[in-house]
Each structure stands twice: as structure tokens, then as C-alpha cells.
């Protein structure tokens, strides 16, 4: 049962083969057994989850169930949920109990889904390995000595280890796609503005976007139907008609023009990952796709641009943690200024502090034009690269990350090396485009472990239904996405 998709589990619930309470309890039992090691969840509240499940069973019994009714879904601990501890991976919010629901939480609740718990993450979503979490690192289920990626590392590990049927993530520079790649699951970052940021703890507001992480594109389409939609409480939410993201799942791919950016296959990409990605592209040719060589000349600049814009926005967003209204307050201080400085020094971890300092520096008097303005200008060049590319192709493909999962501790002390993990994903956030990672195969590590590789699929604005179609067709022809790590039975 733990290998079943949301779609299959939903059918079992509707067919009364199992109840939501039974299904939720099964996952809670697995979490009790496996989470002490994997550490994918920060907070579990069985009473709350089971109460939701019981409620879902009543809805199902009344014949009023919809696609996600009764299905246990894990929520990244970045979403404020009423009555749930919401930490964002930080000591700063260790005792923060959500006083309201994020829009995404409201939507899943409204659809009758069960909140199975809050998943581990890099502190304030700043990281690519889940090692900056105050609540401890997360194991990659494929090799427990390796990282799951980040920042949605807990969500990725939970889906991969069958500790939930699906999970939510958020993606500012690759935080859904890179962990999806490293843990062998499907993850989608929608077009900026499609999902509401209300109640999603802010990191870099012009880049942050939530999306689904699941075992298949079909499951992600069901989640997108619930997660997306206009929300007047988010000033950047887009007011567009609701879409059915399952509508194109079964379209044939014949004639699909797939662009391969030469910059995504250049220096820095590990040879075994390149091989897996090339094999996936060969599979797409078999499915009728036409391959076009394209160029995204400013790809390399996306990292410097991101490490100006994201820290700048973060330094501003995180100024709210002052130890006055909520969050950590230092025990001892001499005056108000000292209370601010000590509370923030104690409440934030090293990587978060670094990014606040970078952001404060690039926004400080005299440097705005040289850094922030310059970065916003290059951001436009990066977006124009994609605009030009989409004149030649329907969809862009390449690797999601330059390598497979790395060992815990390997890059923890070298921020610049860690930042390069996101070389293929960041430009998508800067341009506001949708990006997806799907399992495309495995490499073999030196110590004999199979490590998943993700294929990145980048679409034009609002082209998520087509991307899910592209992913679903591949998942009908291959079985990479159904494979299961050893030792989690």
C-alpha cells in the first residue's frame, strides 16, 4: 500500500477498501518507526491528523469526497498552520504555534486532505542540503550517509521513504526541484504567482513559490488543482481562471519541440548525471519529441544575481524577528538594542546570519546601484534568454542538479560550493517560469549505492499542464519514479 500513488489511494478510499483513519494511522506508524533516523518530520501531531482523517471519512461516507479527500499529505514546516507548531527549521520559531492557516493549508484542508505533519527543512529555506536546519539533518533514504538536498529536504525524504503519500515544498532557487532530484521523486515549482504566499514564511518574496512533491506527475496534477488559485491576501497572486492540470496528461508527445541549452551540459556537470539525462532525452525522441539545440547565454550569471537579490529580500523579510511580538527572545540584555541584537544572534543559525549580512551589505548606502540594481538588470537579461529560447522550442530539458546526492558534511563548510548546486535551477526562479524535476534513472556511487538523478523540465509561463503531460508520458514509458529505496519496508 505504501507504494501506491495519491490517485490509487484516492480510489481505495472512494471504494471503501480502506478508511482515511486507517491510512493515516499506517503512515503515522511508519513515521514512528523510521523518522527517528531519517528525521524528515520536525512536528507530528497524531491527534490532529487523525481528527482530520475521521472528518474525511464522514465526507467520504456521505459520498461527497473529491480527489484528495482523506489523503495524508505532509506539509513543509514553512507553512503556518493553525494550532500546529511552525518552526521554518529555525530556533527563532521553536515555540511558534501557528495562529492562522496559510492559504495552501486552507486549500488542502478545504479539499479534505489530512495534514500528516510538518517536514524538516533548511533554516528559513536557506540551503541545498537540509543541513542548516536547527532540528538536525535529514537522511537521504537512498543512502543514509548522504543529504536529501534542500531546502525542502524533509518533504523529499518523506515522500521517498514512503512516510507520506505526497508533500508540499517551496522553491526560491531550486528548493523543490533539487531535493526531488536527489531523492528520486517528482517536484514542480509553478509559474510565480500561481500559488499564494500568504502564510508561507517569507525568504525572498519575488522568488518564493510553493508546489507539489509527489511520486508521479499525475499526482502532482491533482495537487496543483488544489494548491493554485487567486488569493487577495498575497499582493503578487495572479488572478486567472482556475485550470484543470490533469486535462492534458494523456496527450501524445509527437512533434513536441524540446530545447537543450548547451550551457546545461557544459563544464561542472558530472559525467554520470549527463549520461542519465541524455538517455532520458533519447527516450523522449522515441516518444516523438524533436530535439532542438538552444542557448541560455546568461546561465552562469544567475548565481551571482541570485546571491544579491535573495539575501537582499531576506534581510528585509527577516527583520521582523525582533524578539518582541513572537519568536525567540534572549534571556539577558541591557536595553532594547541589546535585546534585538542578542535575540537575533541566538535565534538565527550561521547560514541565515550570513545571508542577512550579505543582504544588509548590498542594500546599504552607496552600494544599491552596484549590487541590487545591477542584479535586477541582469535578471531581465536572464528572463530574455528564456523568451528567446521559447521561440525555438516548446519545452526546455536538462539536468536538475550538477551531481547526485553528496555526503553529509561534504559541502557544509563551503557556502560557494553549496550555492553551485542550484546552477541549473536558479535562472528559472529569476525569470518566474515553471520548472519541474522528474526521476530519470540512477548512478552508482563508489560504495555501491544507487543514487537517483532528476531530469529538469522547464516550461513557458503558465504551461504547467503541458509540463505535466511531458512528465506523465515519460512516466508511462519508464518506471524510475516507482522504484523504492532499500531498508524502508
Amino acid at each position: 500500500m505504501i507504494n501506491k500513488s495519491l490517485k490509487q489511494l484516492g480510489a481505495m478510499l472512494q471504494g471503501k477498501e480502506i478508511s482515511s483513519v486507517e491510512l493515516t494511522q499506517e503512515y503515522l506508524n511508519r513515521i514512528n518507526r523510521l523518522n527517528p533516523e531519517i528525521n524528515a518530520y520536525i512536528t507530528i501531531d497524531a491527534d490532529k491528523s487523525l481528527a482530520q482523517a475521521k472528518n474525511a471519512d464522514a465526507i467520504l461516507a456521505a459520498g461527497k469526497g473529491t480527489a484528495l479527500t482523506g489523503l495524508p499529505i505532509a506539509q513543509k514546516d514553512i507553512f503556518v498552520a493553525k494550532g500546529w507548531r511552525t518552526t521554518c527549521g529555525s530556533k527563532m520559531l521553536e515555540k511558534f504555534i501557528g495562529p492562522y492557516d496559510a492559504d495552501v493549508i486552507e486549500r488542502f484542508d478545504g479539499a479534505g486532505a489530512v495534514n500528516l505533519g510538518k517536514t524538516n527543512m533548511d533554516e528559513f529555506a536557506m540551503g541545498s542540503s537540509n543541513e542548516t536546519s536547527y532540528y538536525g539533518k535529514v537522511q537521504n533514504p537512498w543512502d543514509r550517509t548522504r543529504v536529501p538536498g534542500g531546502s525542502s529536504g524533509g518533504s523529499a525524504a518523506a515522500v521517498a521513504a514512503r512516510l507520506c503519500a505526497a508533500a508540499t515544498g517551496t522553491d526560491t532557487g531550486g528548493s523543490i526541484r533539487q531535493p526531488a532530484s536527489l531523492c528520486g521523486l517528482s517536484g514542480l515549482k509553478p509559474t510565480y504567482g500561481l500559488t499564494s504566499r500568504f502564510g508561507m514564511i517569507a525568504f525572498a518574496s519575488s522568488l518564493d513559490q510553493s508546489g507539489p512533491m509527489a511520486r508521479s506527475c499525475e499526482d502532482m496534477a491533482l495537487m496543483m488543482n488544489v494548491m493554485t488559485g487567486f488569493d487577495e491576501r498575497d499582493s503578487t497572486s495572479l488572478n486567472r481562471p482556475k485550470e484543470d492540470y490533469t486535462r492534458d496528461l494523456n496527450k501524445p508527445l509527437a512533434g513536441l519541440k524540446v530545447g537543450l541549452p548547451k550551457e546545461f551540459f557544459a563544464e561542472g556537470l558530472s559525467a554520470d548525471v549527463a549520461k542519465v539525462v541524455q538517455d532520458a532525452i533519447a527516450e523522449y525522441k522515441k516518444l516523438g519529441a524533436e530535439i532542438v539545440d538552444i542557448s541560455l547565454p546568461n546561465t552562469k550569471l544567475s548565481i551571482p544575481v541570485y546571491y544579491v537579490l535573495a539575501p537582499a529580500e531576506a534581510s528585509s523579510n527577516l527583520s521582523r524577528y525582533d524578539g518582541v511580538r513572537y519568536g525567540h527572545r534572549a534571556q539577558e540584555y541591557t536595553d532594547l538594542m541589546d535585546m534585538y541584537c542578542k535575540s537575533r544572534a541566538e535565534g538565527f543559525g550561521a547560514e541565515v546570519k550570513r545571508r542577512i549580512l550579505i543582504g544588509t551589505y548590498v542594500l546599504s548606502a552607496g552600494y544599491y546601484d552596484a549590487y541590487y540594481l545591477k542584479a535586477q538588470q541582469i535578471r531581465r537579461l536572464i528572463a530574455q534568454d528564456f523568451e528567446n529560447a521559447f521561440k525555438q522550442c516548446d519545452i526546455i530539458m536538462g539536468p536538475t542538479a550538477p551531481s547526485t546526492a553528496f555526503k553529509a558534511g561534504e559541502k557544509a563548510d563551503d557556502p560557494v560550493a553549496m550555492y553551485l548546486q542550484d546552477i541549473y535551477t536558479i535562472a528559472v526562479n529569476l525569470a518566474g517560469l515553471p520548472g519541474m524535476s522528474i526521476p530519470a534513472g540512477f548512478t552508482q556511487s563508489a560504495d555501491g549505492k544507487r543514487l537517483p538523478v532528476g531530469l529538469q523540465v522547464i516550461g513557458n509561463y503558465f504551461d504547467e499542464a503541458r509540463m505535466l503531460n511531458v512528465g506523465h508520458a515519460y512516466q508511462q514509458a519508464t518506471d524510475w519514479h516507482t522504484q523504492m529505496p532499500e531498508g524502508i519496508e
Binding site: 495562529p99 504567482g193 525582533d322 540584555y333 551589505y361 548590498v362 538588470q377
Partner: protein
């Protein structure tokens, strides 16, 4: 642009984060690496390019000037570090 430990302390003060000397030195090394990465931008000619803040051509929405929030002071203050009689407590600011 190269930074020194005094710069780190000045920036940290602007950011309201206390750093001691040892932390400032350790932070300096890491920040220098990151700023080196950022410097790559300076080689790009951006003359005449309009800065981009949002991918879609959108403007801020306006709404009617009506009350949309109800008073939930007790709920919100239940997670505050220090409150008394409905007020948030901070160290004395005015002598």
C-alpha cells in the same frame, strides 16, 4: 570590494545581530568568498536595461477601504515573549 572585520561588525550592527571578534573573523572569510562570486556581475554591460522586479506585467491591486480583519489580540499575544494587560513588553526606551 574587500571587507575587513570592522566592516562585518558595522554590517552586523545594521542588521541587529550581535557578533563577537571570533565570529566576525570567521564570517569575513565566508563573506569574502560570496562577494567574490557576486563580483562576476560587474563584467556585464547593463547600460539601458530596465531592472526587472516581477516576471509578469502586473500592478498593485487596490481594494475597498473596509475592515477585513477581526480583533484577535489575545490569540496573537499568546505566542509573544512578554505581554502585560494587552501590551507587548520591551525594555525601557524613554528615561
Amino acid at each position: 570590494m574587500s571587507l575587513n572585520s570592522a566592516d562585518i561588525k558595522r554590517i552586523a550592527h545594521l542588521a541587529r545581530i550581535e557578533v563577537n571578534d571570533a565570529e566576525a573573523d570567521a564570517t569575513l572569510t565566508k563573506l569574502t568568498g560570496i562577494l567574490g562570486l557576486i563580483e562576476q556581475m560587474q563584467a556585464v554591460d547593463t547600460t539601458g536595461i530596465a531592472p526587472m522586479s516581477h516576471s509578469q506585467d502586473v500592478t498593485q491591486r487596490l481594494r475597498d477601504d473596509v475592515v477585513t480583519e477581526t480583533n484577535q489580540r489575545e490569540l496573537y499575544q499568546s505566542i509573544a515573549p512578554a505581554v502585560a494587560e494587552g501590551l507587548y513588553l520591551v525594555p525601557k526606551v524613554i528615561e
